[in-house]
């Protein structure tokens, strides 16, 4: 009964994992297909290259620009929703809506809004007399614009997770707080936020992982990795290195894929490590 799963995992996850490592140790022919064994050459090239350092830097900036606003924004919304407001279900559904949008649909909508000539973003700025912004064409704005799109996509999920976390806080704790005279923001500050610790931690890790894997929004909004490569993250670079016209190189791309794997495994290890400690603490 485990056989169907095992076949799929073996063929499309485990074997490719080994193949990725082996590809990263091989060079590429004119068509980007693997040929001679080159050992650690790709890794040496990467470590010595200013371009690769730039890619890592863009990747880190993208993570920070998406995870911090996404998690804090989600937390702010959930805390506001907790203040016994009316129409909470309507608000909750409203905040969950972005979750229905795929990476492609969200990116295409934002591409329309960011359109330099007829887009809404510049149109609205123009109304207030502010100069046009090159949302996706200005190197200092492109990554921020892509990050805004990503935060919009993730906020629905963050609200769902934190709402569920609040629902799991035992009612007695809130009652005790009310009896002691801690209502509204005091309760939020000293009870709700600390009790949401595990969910917040989970969201930070999960958002970091998703951000590191972000690809569609970058490919659609800034097809060439952005002006002056300002949106070229690690994942985009893997794609670009493997499938670029005329310069396809599966070997070098696989070495980058292994770097991505190591970074993501480290994130997961941190998650498990901390969760483990929490369980023991309880």
């Amino acid at each position: 009964m485990l056989v169907p799963c095992l076949i799929v995992f073996a063929l499309f996850i485990i074997w490719p994992l080994g193949k990725s490592v082996s590809l990263s140790l091989h060079g590429s022919d004119l068509f980007g297909r693997p040929d001679a064994f080159v050992g650690l050459q790709h890794y040496r090239d990467m470590l010595g290259s200013a371009e690769f350092r730039h890619i890592l830097w863009v990747t880190l900036a993208f993570v920070l620009l998406t995870v911090i606003p996404g998690v804090l924004g989600g937390l702010a919304i959930v805390l506001l929703l907790e203040q016994h407001i009316k129409g909470i279900r309507v608000f909750r559904t409203a905040f969950a809506l972005p979750f229905a949008f795929s990476v492609a649909s969200a990116s295409v909508i934002f591409a329309t809004i960011y359109n330099p000539a007829i887009g809404l973003a510049n149109g609205m700025l123009g109304r207030f007399g502010v100069d046009r912004v090159g949302w996706l064409t200005d190197p200092s704005w492109a990554l921020i614009s892509v990050a805004i799109t990503t935060v919009w996509m993730s906020i629905g999920y963050n609200v769902l997770v934190l709402s569920a976390g609040i629902g799991a806080i035992p009612a007695e704790i809130n009652e005790a707080a009310t009896l002691d005279g801690a209502g509204g923001w005091r309760a939020a500050r000293f009870i709700t936020v600390p009790m949401l610790g595990p969910q917040l931690f989970f969201l930070i890790v999960i958002s970091t992982i998703q951000s590191l894997q972000g690809f569609g929004q970058i490919k659609i909004l800034t097809p060439e990795g952005g002006p002056e490569q300002s949106t070229k993250t690690l994942v985009y670079s893997i794609y670009h290195t493997a499938f670029a016209n005329n310069a396809s190189d599966f070997g070098a791309a696989s070495a980058q894929a292994i770097v991505l794997l190591v970074i993501l495994l480290a994130c997961t290890a941190i998650q498990f490590g901390v969760l483990e400690r929490r369980v023991h603490y309880k």
Partner: protein
């Protein structure tokens, strides 16, 4: 009723502003899709449609391959969802109800596959699948072959196994033993007792897998190599390149593409929350 203090007014005001910011792109995609070309690119921008203009929908369905791509996506998503449900039920059943050698190790291996990011194994998978041939022809050279290549790596996933295992573990062992003694075999037990009792978990897995498959971007971008073989997500992202001067038509295409997932998020929210937060709440 609670009295309306300054604090509560601010709470509502902030929530409403946040809700507008989050919902605005959702509103704009629908409103823009029924605006005439003149209206949507007017300056200063006009946010409210003047009546219902259907030309964008006619244009999107007649001049592009969206109709065909919709079918491709429905096919791809249905096969993936159905297959993952079946393989996950079988594996979860084995992990919970069958005593076998190395069960813990195998389950650890299953969970381990969840930690491998798709982006780090996509290149070898691409080389493997595009390298296969059927009857002397490349697999991806035919329409049917392309569809097979689209779904093959995703026919099983450990996430569904993990979630269903959690749910099956709730089932009392004594009942299972009683059923066995009464001569109830594996298949009958699964079909007549286990599945009906685990409908919420099955719904959660089904909807989650459906959303993920419908929204896939990276793999379908590599596999479908002409318009009639692409999935909807790739189709709408390319509208963005081809029809950039006609935002109304692009938004009509996007609106059509999000209808199924929007319905799931609005009507299936409680199941989704269960699936999504499975990792967050322990």
């Amino acid at each position: 009723m609670r009295n309306l203090t300054v604090g509560r007014v601010i709470t509502y005001a902030v929530l409403i502003v946040a809700a507008i910011a989050v919902i605005f792109p959702v509103y704009y995609v629908i409103a823009g899709s029924i605006m005439s070309p003149g209206q949507i690119s007017s300056y200063p921008p006009d946010l409210f449609p003047h009546g219902l203009f259907t030309g964008n929908y006619k244009g999107a369905t007649s001049t592009t391959a969206i109709g065909r791509q919709y079918l491709n996506s429905v096919l791809q998503t249905s096969v993936i969802t159905l297959s993952q449900l079946i393989t996950s039920v079988l594996a979860a059943y084995a992990f919970v109800f069958m005593k076998m050698w190395g069960r813990t190790v195998l389950f650890g291996l299953f969970l381990g596959t969840l930690m491998v990011p798709w982006e780090s194994i996509v290149l070898p998978n691409y080389l493997t699948i595009t390298g296969w041939s059927v009857g002397g022809e490349r697999l991806t050279a035919s329409y049917a072959g392309t569809m097979v290549a689209l779904v093959l790596p995703f026919l099983a996933n450990a996430f569904g196994v993990f979630l269903l295992r959690q749910s099956f573990l709730q089932f009392p062992t004594e009942l299972r033993d009683a059923a066995t003694i009464d001569g109830c075999g594996h298949w009958r037990f699964i079909r007549q007792i286990l599945l009906p009792l685990n409908k919420p978990a099955l719904m959660a897995v089904g909807l989650y897998v459906f959303l993920a498959a419908w929204n896939q971007f990276f793999w379908p971008l590599l596999i479908g190599d002409n318009a009639s073989r692409r999935t909807l997500q790739i189709g709408i992202s390319q509208l963005n390149d081809v029809e950039a001067a006609d935002p109304g038509l692009i938004l009509a295409g996007v609106t059509l593409s999000i209808l199924p997932t929007l319905a799931i998020v609005i009507f299936g929210q409680r199941f989704i929350v269960r699936g999504l937060t499975a990792g967050a709440i322990r």
